[in-house]
Amino acid sequence: MSDRKSPSEDAAEQSSSPQNSNNVATGISRRGFLKGAGITAAGTALLEGVQVFSREAVAATHSDVKELGPGAVPVTLLVNGKEHTIQIEPRTTLADALRVHMGLTGTKVICDRGSCSGCTVLLDKTPVNSCMTLAMDARGHHVTTIEGLPQNGEMHPLQAAFVKHDAMQCGFCTPGMVMSCAALLEKNPKPTEDDVRHATAGNLCRCGTYPRIFAATLEAAGTSTRNA
């Protein structure tokens, strides 16, 4: 659905690299798992479950990577400029970490499989589907949610433009839409309408507010004052 590239691979690489070994909760990364599995080529081990799998991985990489889980482990995430340490199972998605464990319910999970972008948050400056990102993979990154978009108590210009153009109805897709458009403006401050359509191609709105979203985003960018 979405054309964007998930940065979870990059995140995994960073979190298992030596520079990040002082993280509060270091451990097996997704990349580490995959490496381990590749080296041992142990198809049967894969079938025996995560625990066996992770032991194999640790043994195989010969690193000082600690085994995490099953069961809750402390994880520290930098969300909206603040550090949050939460107890979560390693399988917890970033969306659940934000919503259930930090009470940041602005992020919505709608399809729960990366096809609607309702759960979009920024990992550094890249939009990701937080329902498809493990919370562990967000360590070492700046996570920005809809709650963190305002600066110094002022709405982000994009949020103000969404209000002005009434770029919403029920509002359930709105946080994800705003985050996708905010990420676009970060990368491309002067987008065309086609750029906005492309940036929101993965975002589903069932009420059909798209024309207002295009107009609001273009206005926030100062590239158009066209009303929808």
């Binding site: 399809c111 949020q159 919403m168 029920c170 024309p211 929808a228």
Partner: protein, 806 residues
């Protein structure tokens, strides 16, 4: 009570008023109200209204806040992520629940073993459903299953598990062992009609409607899976066809569409001994309370329903539902609040859809266009429910000499349908509006001229005039298939009709405080259509304070009862009650400040945000300053909806929509480039919000026309695309250019004279407009939705049979 000024030109009308006044019932008076379309047909008409009613509201251009595009009242909450939907409710100690769903499409349940689930650490409660809600119900109670409810579709809820974490509930749900005695099933409408088809029900069964419409006729014949026909005959259709100079007869078929609201159905239930509190993602707090009270035999006063924000419903979210009942049961069992929101798959399978249709439509006409007979025979499937009738447009859009409709529901082993934005109308309009165009071709008439001849609605006449004069319509080549290349451009139109329904259970309280703040309270829910904003505008107009300064407290049954939001009733039903309450509160307010201002209440008026003395005892003072003189902390007034002023009159709303398409005849892709939509909804209370809804209606209608399709596997009876990537919904790159024009139309029916727009928002006409544009582009009729490339290519492959090509 004040009336609007009457110009000398209206003197004759005054005589009518005088006549009416002599027969005025006690407690009422005759007033003149604006009626008609400004710029076209606006005039004054007499209405008899109760003397307790507020002064007649002038037309929009003479108002400060009503009729203006006030900022959405809760926009800031929605854009900042602080809006709390049912899905976001988190209570201390709350458990998360998950349904166990049927794995087969048709079966008797032999046994359910919950022991393994109960043993899983973190699991606090398991509940097995004894009484299933939704779908049709057997007329003969003796035929009902004596043990567990019969499984009639894959995905039917069977039980639920509550646990401390969502993933534990999910694991536990998988541990519940259900043993089925499977039965033969059928998921294909054509097969289900056959005499030897597996029977979805062992006897006749009917489904009740909801506040949003839907449901089907009761007591009609049932043969096998065919529930119907429900027959409606007016005049002699047989004779009508004999009288016709031209007859057009065609078959149309439409698919099943799921509502796919982004917030799924669900509740958070908190059962306490003296009060059951339920946060619900619903279109009707009243309907949820009603159903829960009835199910648990509780007094309604001990059930509280809260819907502060709601993530879309489109007709499917009325009543408690199985999720509501099960969450309440689990909360009662565990003594803990329980969160139960459906997952995306369950949302597709079990809580509603727009039924399919197979229609045979036959229309006869005289050479001048006069319709001599309209005949519609339809079969549609609402799964294991009813409500697939689609004769609304054929019955109500045009004038005919004779009508004969037969609507049939065909049961299949699929989830029950629910009301879906203009139930039956997108299907019906898809057939009707293409047939009318076909007729125009046969009669060698312009499609707008023909509609001018057969459509009596005065508002649509104006709308067609606007369309006729538009650049888009003028750019239409009347000759179909005129483009030479493989990309062919076409323009086509369709009309729509919806009806004025009023929900009398619409009440509100308005409070004025000594600090000058004002608030409105009603149990009504805002489902995204913007009723919060509209109520704020009504108070703003009365008290002269900006809408954003008005406190709007809704979505809680602790407040006066609110209408269920279905069938475009909310604004039409509630806004007059709120205006009445605001007016009465303002009168109480003046009485309360009069002593402090050294005058009598009847010397005071509140207008333009200022309190004035009619006898000029003091300079006008601002409302807020005057409020400081109140002799009590708060005054309040409660009001409920009174009947429409002109009860005998039957009003409809609608619109005319034009689509411009490009058809790639090589790939079969239809690209909708543009819609021009002209719509009416009485007095538009907030034009920006109305246009926003029409944008959405057109997009939803286009998505239905081109992409969406619930696919059932005939071999296994499962839905194969119960997600949001294979169930295709129009996205940002599919959105055409949309241009919407509103036609203000006053009908003199209430103190706000407002109506709703949810149904008549383009959702019913988009597919037909695209169909007519497709014909204009290619010279070929497309009679099946969704119009996917294979459907298009198949239609084009029959091109030699182009009966309509001029």
């Amino acid at each position: 009570m004040a009336t609007t000024k009457i110009t000398p030109a209206e003197e004759t009308m005054l005589d009518a008023v005088a006549d009416a006044a002599t027969t005025t019932p006690p407690g009422t008076e005759t007033v003149m109200m604006p009626v008609g379309i400004p710029g076209y047909t606006l005039h004054q008409e007499a209405r008899q209204v109760p003397t307790t009613q507020p002064p007649v509201l002038p037309i929009n251009k003479d108002l400060q806040y009503i009729g203006k595009s006030a900022k959405r009242w809760d926009a800031h909450a929605k854009v900042s992520g602080s809006a709390r939907y049912t899905y976001d409710i988190q209570l201390p100690g709350m458990l998360y629940a998950k349904f166990v769903n049927a794995a087969v499409p048709h079966a008797q349940i032999v046994s359910i073993d919950t022991s393994a689930a109960e043993k899983l650490p973190g699991v606090k409660g398991v509940y097995v459903i004894q009484h299933l809600l939704g779908g049709a119900v057997l007329r003969d109670a003796a035929l009902k299953s004596k043990t567990y409810p019969t499984v009639r579709y894959a995905g039917q809820p069977i039980a639920a598990v509550a646990a401390t974490q969502p993933h534990i509930a999910e694991e536990a749900a998988k541990l519940v062992k259900v043993q089925y005695a499977t039965k033969p099933f059928v998921v294909d409408l054509e097969k289900a009609r056959q005499p030897n088809a597996p029977q979805v029900f062992p006897g006749p069964a009917d489904q009740a409607g909801t506040a949003g419409g839907g449901g089907g006729p009761h007591g009609v014949p049932q043969t096998g899976n065919v529930h119907g026909p429900a027959i409606h005959k007016v005049g002699d259709a047989e004779q009508g066809f004999k009288d016709a100079d031209v007859i057009v007869e065609s078959k149309y078929s439409t698919q099943v569409q799921t509502h796919s609201a982004l917030e799924t159905h669900g509740v958070v239930a908190d059962w306490k001994p003296d009060l059951l509190t339920v946060w619900a993602s619903t279109q009707g707090t009243a309907s949820v309370r009603e159903e829960l009270a009835a199910f648990f035999h509780l007094p309604k006063s001990q059930v509280r329903v809260i819907t502060e924000f709601m993530g879309g419903g489109f007709g499917a979210k009325f009543g408690a539902g199985n999720h509501g009942v099960v969450a309440a049961q689990l909360s009662r069992q565990t003594g803990t609040p329980v969160w139960l929101m459906l997952d995306r798959k369950q949302e597709h399978l079990s809580v509603g859809n727009r039924p399919s249709s197979d229609q045979t439509l036959k229309i006869g006409a005289k050479k001048d266009g006069t319709l001599t007979a309209v005949q519609l025979i339809s079969f549609g499937s609402a799964g294991c429910g009813t409500g697939a009738g689609c004769a609304g447009p054929a019955t109500n859009l045009y004038k005919w000499a004779a009508l004969h409709t037969e609507e049939n529901d065909v049961f299949i082993n699929a989830g029950p349908a629910a009301a879906f934005r203009a139930p039956g109308h997108p299907q019906g309009a898809f057939a009707l509006e293409q047939t009318i165009d076909e007729l125009a071709t046969k009669l060698n008439m312009d499609p707008i001229d023909l509609r001018d001849k057969i459509d009596e609605n005065p508002v649509r006449r104006v709308e067609r005039q606007i369309i006729r004069e538009s650049a888009l319509w003028k750019s239409r080549n009347p000759k179909p298939n005129a483009d030479q290349g493989h990309i062919k451009r076409g323009v086509g139109l369709s009309q729509s009709v919806w009806y004025r329904h009023i929900n009398m259970n619409s009440a509100a309280e308005v409070r004025v405080h000594r600090d000058g703040s004002v608030e409105v309270l009603s149990a009504v829910q805002d489902i995204g259509t913007g009723i919060k904003t509209v109520l704020a505008q009504v108070l703003a107009e009365q008290f002269g304070v900006p809408p954003e300064k008005v406190s709007v407290k809704i979505g809680d049954t602790n407040y006066p009862v609110g209408p269920n939001s279905g069938g475009s009733v909310t604004t039409a039903s509630l806004s007059p009650a709120v205006r009445d309450a605001a007016w009465q509160a303002s009168q109480k307010f003046l009485a309360s400040v009069a002593p402090g201002l050294g005058t009598a209440p009847d010397d005071l008026v509140l207008t333009g945000g200022e309190v004035r003395s009619k006898s000029n005892k003091f300079q006008p003072i601002a409302f807020r300053r005057a409020a400081a003189k109140m002799d009590t902390d708060e005054v309040s007034a409660q009001s409920k909806r009174i009947p429409d002023y002109n009860k005998g009159h039957y009003d409809t709303y609608g619109g005319v929509d034009v689509a411009e398409v490009e058809v790639d005849t090589e790939t079969g892709r239809i690209h909708v480039k543009r819609f021009f939509a002209v719509h009416d909804c009485g007095r538009p209370m907030n034009p920006s919000q109305v246009i926003n809804q029409i944008n959405g209606g057109l997009i939803q209608g286009m998505s239905y026309a081109l992409y969406e399709n619930r696919l059932l596997d005939p071999n296994f009876g499962y839905m194969v695309n119960p997600n949001l990537e294979q169930y295709k919904i129009a996205g940002s790159r599919d959105i055409p250019e949309l241009h919407v024009q509103l036609v203000e139309s006053y009908i003199g029916q209430s103190s706000t004279d407002a109506s709703g727009i949810g149904e008549a928002a383009g959702v019913m006409s988009a597919a037909a407009a695209i169909g007519n544009a497709f014909h204009n582009a290619t010279g070929v009729r497309i009679r099946t939705t969704p119009m996917t490339p294979p459907v298009v290519l198949e239609a084009l492959s029959k091109a030699p049979q182009r009966s309509e090509t001029a």
